[in-house]
Symmetry: C2
Amino acid sequence: MTPDTAFLASISLFHGLPPQALAAALAAAREARYEEDSFLFYQDDPADRVFALVSGRVKLTQLSGDGQQVIMRVITPGLLFAAIGIVAGATYPVSAEAAEESGALIWTQAAMRALIEQYPRLALNALAVMGVQVREFQDRYRELATERVERRLARAILRLASQAGRKTDEGVLLDLPITRQDLAEMSGTTLYTVSRILTQWEGQGLVHATRERIVITFPHGLVSIAEDLPQRARPNAVE
Amino acid sequence: MTPDTAFLASISLFHGLPPQALAAALAAAREARYEEDSFLFYQDDPADRVFALVSGRVKLTQLSGDGQQVIMRVITPGLLFAAIGIVAGATYPVSAEAAEESGALIWTQAAMRALIEQYPRLALNALAVMGVQVREFQDRYRELATERVERRLARAILRLASQAGRKTDEGVLLDLPITRQDLAEMSGTTLYTVSRILTQWEGQGLVHATRERIVITFPHGLVSIAEDLPQRARPNAVE
DNA sequence: CTGTTTATTTGATCTGGCGCAAAGAAACCG
DNA sequence: CGGTTTCTTTGCGCCAGATCAAATAAACAG
């Protein structure tokens, strides 16, 4: 499970870099393990490190003044996060919590800046990574401002499926433990509403949801809801 | 009104750069004028230029599939926007529309990349600019997911005041024409609700709102609402 | 196996704020 | 200046979805 340069090459931050750059990056990183429910860093901590997940799952959450929590992203292996740690003087806008036993590569800000100095391409890659994030949050912001809960939930689940979906004979399993509360925090609603919508989808044969486990049995149906296409029920579904 | 290097130095992208870098940047830019209601670029256009506003006002808006519009940012002179244009292969996530007659400096992607090559510090500055944006949208996303309309509207108005507020003897004037519809699109609600809340605030002596014009007569009251402090009405307000 | 904790469902109730309609009111234009 | 356009207000009905309460149900600890 010790990461190699091939692993690094799969991380968007390192795309297009020469082998010796990958080797240097690997040498500059340190690896750390985190047990379930432990925190990698907290919101408002000085952002002085950059992370890449090697194994496990990490949730990035933001807390409001009155204690309400929102899940910003779920990190799966191969993803870079806390990229803001490259920038001097910043603080983390979210907290990072291991949803299960996890391993991560860590670069200090100094190490990352030294790498950038040597391989300026890294800075452009980092800009691209940030750009994707700006876009994603603008999109999600608009969704939240203009769209119904059902559609937002469909999108949240499809997003999860795209990064942690595993094909089984029953359908696409979301390969991470996820509660109704988590889904609510990802789509800006309440666990009650999530529960009701899932029950309804279950009746339409779109998903099979049990405790902390979601299987998408008819992905096209969810896509229809997310995109607002007309027909929704699964063909042959028992109504 | 022709911008000089002093103007460039005030733009966050160019912070800490040596004078000759500013001169080079100025030489690499071209200036353009836009009349009211004209578009600088459209959402989903290839992002191949970076802009800095010299004069006027520009609205960055995002349109959803079914035609609903959201205002992402209001750009005032001295602000950099469309920074995503530095990154190869991206598209603009928003449209940019001149809210009044405006002037902007424009760098092509090629020009900007050449500058970065020469002054790598630029890349780190660009990262910082993007980082601020990621944070801002994450914050606003959470607000939208967890907070009431009244508070979101208070925040939207205070945000506008911080970048386009002008002190008058009546209070802080939002120095740009802004409709109820605009405010609704900035805070994720409808123009009806905005109108009602403003009327209510007017009664509490917090603001003075007329056609396309907002004066904050008791800023502390708005802050109280934005931060959820207890007392709200203006002392001596006529109820 | 049993008690406890954590997650889920479901009914009942309530309400913030949306959407419509219609009537001002201010700006704009020929 | 008179007609038109644009912006704003306000009453009214309504409903998506939040909130509350309580009953399962699944996992877990000892």
